[in-house]
């Protein structure tokens, strides 16, 4: 519970802090928020015991604790990346502390979701993590696209949670319990249970943006403020993957006969459709949206190995993905903030003007594509190993061929940045310290995480239990 209480304290402090900044200029809230959240993220690494609260509704142990820390890391990077935007856009409108309030409430929801020992708790966490993000997507209210993103997100999320609730009620009807532990013992795979389970699954699949629940992602990413798009594609997706992993591998192995088939199919669809749509994108935010749909498809491979290695490969991949994808979003964000441009053509000749940013982007894209010796290579390799461990070689072949397709579109951006010369290149971009720090963290993660095996070994050790 310490994680949740800490974050709650941070939220409350920031909500009240605004009062103490006299006058119109409340920009002091930004560094205070970053500092407080940084402290929170740091404090999260102190070890914590395991246990359960509220009659088993809430539970925690070392692995869950680690998952929360991973999410903290992602949010920290997002907070750093959005600092410049918050100062420029939100401070004049005096809407700063609400921004942090919403962002962190959503994170709090994810904590509860991961820690839930009970289906209802899980549902509350799911809702709590989704609704504030819809508000955030619409945060640039006066921009029509942003408002559109918000409404799109809330409608789709509403539909998804309705379906989830339907699933929960069916599961309850079939087994008579909400407790995950009891549920896992009672599940036998009858028709009603299967139906309930599939409904339930759809709600989570929406958050991971698996095909065919992915339609909202490109529109929302494109319309939402870039920092929020990054948050959606990394933190929100990561949390949903974690909970899916805990549910499927931890509590529903009895139903694995059903969900392995579902995941097999969805993995193929998600990878292929995400990749094929990404091929034709010009807008980089839409592009990253489809690429992150495709990446979600790869993550599903990790579910096919029931052992410790499968779980470890999922968590490790999400961790790597946080760094790689947020690095890419960071560069897109800084270019957009400086020039308002977000099309691939605009990046022509980027390296010759902004060599450092271009290098960050190159590393991020290569890591996403799985090129050694960057972290993404190891992440993907371990996922592929999980699929092979389960004996799914055909799926594996489809997946690796999909990585080749994905390499094509990642190289398209590399082509624009490095190969092309432009008559009207982007200007030299000066980032603030926050953005630089966030990119530095990401690059360090991309470079170090794979080559040094310590992190993977550590995660593997934690995956003894779910």
């Amino acid at each position: 519970m310490r994680h949740e209480l800490q974050l709650l304290a941070v939220i409350l402090v920031i909500t009240c802090a605004e009062i103490y900044y006299s006058g119109k200029d409340k920009s002091g809230v930004v560094p205070l928020s970053i500092a407080l959240f940084g402290l929170h993220a740091l404090a999260g690494w102190f070890p914590i015991g395991e246990g359960a609260l509220f009659g088993g509704m809430y539970r925690t142990h070392a692995l869950i604790h680690f998952l929360k820390n991973v999410l903290d890391l992602g949010v920290l990077v997002v907070v750093l990346q959005t600092a410049g935007w918050v100062k420029k856009q939100l401070v004049p409108e005096n809407r700063v502390s609400e921004f942090y309030l919403l962002l962190w409430s959503s994170l709090l929801g994810m904590y509860y979701m991961i820690s839930s020992g009970d289906v209802l708790m899980l549902f509350i966490g799911l809702e709590m993590s989704t609704l504030p993000v819809a508000a955030l997507a619409a945060y640039e209210v006066l921009r029509m696209r942003s408002a559109e993103a918000g409404i799109k997100m809330i409608l789709m999320a509403g539909l998804a949670s309705a379906i989830t609730l339907m699933g929960i009620s069916l599961l309850y009807g079939a087994t008579g319990t909400f407790s995950l532990t009891v549920l896992s013992q009672k599940l036998t795979g009858t028709g009603l249970e299967t139906l309930g389970f599939i409904f339930f699954f759809a709600g989570v699949a929406f958050k991971i943006s698996l095909v065919p629940f992915h339609f909202w992602a490109p529109d929302v990413y494109e319309g939402a403020p870039t920092g929020i798009a990054g948050y959606l594609s990394v933190v929100s997706k990561g949390a949903a993957v974690f909970i899916l992993m805990i549910l499927l591998l931890g509590f529903a192995p009895a139903l694995s006969g059903i969900w392995i088939g579902v995941l097999y199919l969805l993995a193929i669809l998600t990878m292929t459709i995400g990749n094929l749509f990404a091929l034709r994108q010009q807008n980089l935010k839409r592009f990253l949206a489809y690429s992150s749909v495709a990446q979600a498809g790869f993550i599903l491979l990790g579910f096919l190995s029931a052992g410790q290695d499968g779980r470890a490969s999922i968590i490790y991949f999400v961790l790597v993905y946080i760094f790689s994808n947020l690095a890419a979003f960071g560069v897109v964000h800084s270019v957009e903030a400086a020039t308002g441009k977000e099309n691939m053509d605009d990046y022509e000749g980027f390296y010759r003007v902004n060599p450092r940013l271009a290098m960050v982007m190159l590393l991020a894209l290569f890591s996403l594509a799985g090129i050694p010796p960057l972290a993404g290579f190891f992440g993907k390799f371990f996922l592929f190993m999980s699929a092979a461990a389960g004996g799914y070689y055909v799926l594996l072949l489809i997946a690796v061929l999909n990585t080749v397709i994905s390499l094509y579109y990642y190289l398209l951006i590399v082509r624009a940045m490095f190969l092309r010369k432009s008559a009207h290149p982007l200007p030299v971009i000066q980032n603030d310290y926050w953005m630089r720090a966030s990119l530095l963290i990401c690059v360090a993660g991309i470079l170090v995480l794979g080559v040094s095996s310590g992190v993977y070994d550590y995660i593997f050790g934690l995956c003894v239990r779910l």
């Binding site: 050694p372 461990a389 070689y393």
Partner: protein, 497 residues
């Protein structure tokens, strides 16, 4: 410290030093020093290896060491070399150093060029020193990806198209390879603690025959793409033609050898039963590569395309010889890799020098160059003669050995394909001699050619670095042949011959 580790540390440090270098002069100096050190280290390795063997060390792999990397999955970084890998490491060091000299006048983004070039070389060195499938795959991809930038930024002609085609086809190959390697891992039984990526352990434990039948074709095709196996060779002509000089050299000279080496070291060595069962099919494909490449080269007028197709033919011959699955032919295959690596690198270096002066690569537009550019022309003749297998140069030794080995098979199928492949060598003579005749001999057909500058010191150094070993192997092939022959013992044991 293990000398093999040094072969990885030197290029890595060179890349780091390059990142902090400023001007072109500084960057190329750093590169030459770094790759010069690497050159020395490679030859030191060669002599250390020969000394070990002379002192009676008969282990399969020498200079082995093993570092645990991802212990839960038993992924290790295992180092070790035999005669084959030592020979290829020396080849790589020679070609890389020559490539740096040839790129001496690189104008645009020189620092980035050398970083990418040396990153590519690092991948190749890593591939040859490792005994572990995981790191082997890692270095394979590391060697391929810089090609995209190298061709795309510094290339010529339809460079974006060629770069993309090459990268995607090679990565497509590596996709098949990945499935094959994971299949090997999960069917391995040799390790004491679960599965293993270690080549020697997998070989010792053996792979079940049913699994071999699935994963042999995947692995062979995966590596074969890089070795220009028909019909996956189409990246090669376009890629070579668009690449800048040093990259063509490294690519044709060294990178394509990764394919042959992988087929030999992984596909055939680890899955001998499937290899003998399916060899006939791949002999068809590779035999076709040999003939098709040779006839393709005849039809070309662009010097780079001629050599690219000739590379398809010669690399096809490497795979063809490996698939003969006997000691003599395999010995020839390794010799051919080295000989072809040196000779093609020399060809591409010379083509680059010619193009810089005449601004054309079309054979018919040049004439009488022997009179105005004697050094370059003479080198070209030497490379050509080595390519068509003149005794006294390295090409003869390699091809002779291959065909003797191939003829050891007495059945009609092997005989017919061997004869067809031999006939491709005659075709080689046609296109080489025609180029030499049209381009180098005769009267000077363009008055502007009279003022062409002679080869500069760095060009001469680069060319001589490549010619000397070609002649040395041609004159005294026995020590090299012996070194390789001894290292073939494990694979022959595996094949049960």
């Amino acid at each position: 410290m293990n000398i093999l580790l040094l072969l990885l540390i030197i290029p890595t440090l060179t890349i780091l030093a390059l990142m902090f270098s400023k001007e072109r002069e500084q960057a190329r100096l750093v590169s030459v020093v770094g790759m010069g050190l690497q050159f020395v280290a490679a030859f030191y390795l060669l002599f250390a290896f020969l000394r070990e063997r002379a002192s009676g060390n008969t282990d399969d792999m020498l200079f082995t060491s093993s570092y645990m990397w991802f212990s839960p999955l038993n992924i290790r970084f295992d180092l070790g070399v035999d005669g084959v890998s030592v020979a290829l490491i020396v080849l790589t060091a020679i070609v890389t150093l020559a490539g740096v000299f040839i790129s001496w006048r690189m104008e645009d983004l020189a620092k980035e060029f050398f970083i990418s070039l040396i990153a590519l070389a690092t991948g190749v060195f890593g591939f040859f020193v490792t005994l572990d499938l995981f790191t082997m795959f890692l270095f394979y991809e590391l060697a391929v990806i810089p090609m995209y930038l190298l061709i795309g930024i510094w290339g010529s002609g339809p460079k974006e198209y060629s770069a993309m085609k090459l990268t995607l086809m090679l990565m497509g190959g590596s996709a098949f390879l990945l499935v094959g390697l994971l299949g090997l891992y999960f069917n391995s039984t040799g390790a004491a603690d679960g599965h293993t990526f270690n080549l020697m352990e997998i070989a010792a434990g053996g792979i079940p025959v049913e699994a071999q039948r699935i994963f042999f074709p995947l692995t062979f095709v995966g590596f074969g793409v890089l070795g220009a196996l028909f019909p996956f060779h189409t990246w090669s002509p376009d890629g070579h033609a668009s690449a800048p000089t040093a990259v063509s050299m490294l690519h044709a000279g060294v990178l394509m050898k990764l394919g042959g080496y992988g087929c030999y070291r992984v596909a055939v060595f680890l899955m001998p039963q499937a290899a003998s069962e399916m060899a006939w099919f791949f002999i068809l494909l590779t035999g076709f590569s040999v003939i098709y490449g040779a006839f393709g080269a005849i039809r070309q007028t662009d010097l780079k395309y001629i050599n690219a197709y000739s590379s398809v033919s010669h690399c096809g011959l490497v795979l063809f010889a490996i698939l003969m699955l006997n000691k003599t032919a395999m010995n020839g295959a390794i010799l051919q890799m080295i000989s072809h690596g040196l000779m093609t690198a020399l060809f591409f270096a010379l083509i680059g020098m010619l193009y810089e002066r005449t601004h054309t690569r079309i054979v018919q537009e040049m004439g009488g160059l022997m009179k105005v550019l004697p050094f370059i022309s003479a080198c070209y003749v030497i490379a050509g003669l080595a390519s068509l297998g003149l005794p006294g140069l390295s090409g003869f030794v390699a091809e002779m050995t291959i065909f003797v080995g191939a003829f050891e098979h007495a059945d009609a199928f092997h005989r017919v394909w061997t004869i067809l492949a031999v006939s491709a060598i005659v075709v080689t003579a046609v296109y080489i001699l025609r180029v030499v005749g049209t381009m180098l001999m005769g009267p000077v057909n363009n008055p502007e050619y009279a003022h062409l500058p002679a080869a500069a010191w760095y060009e001469k150094t680069g060319a001589l670095l490549l010619i000397l070993p070609i002649a040395a192997i041609g004159m005294a092939p026995l020590w090299l042949s012996e070194m390789i022959r001894f290292s073939l013992e494990p694979i022959i044991r595996q094949l049960g011959l």
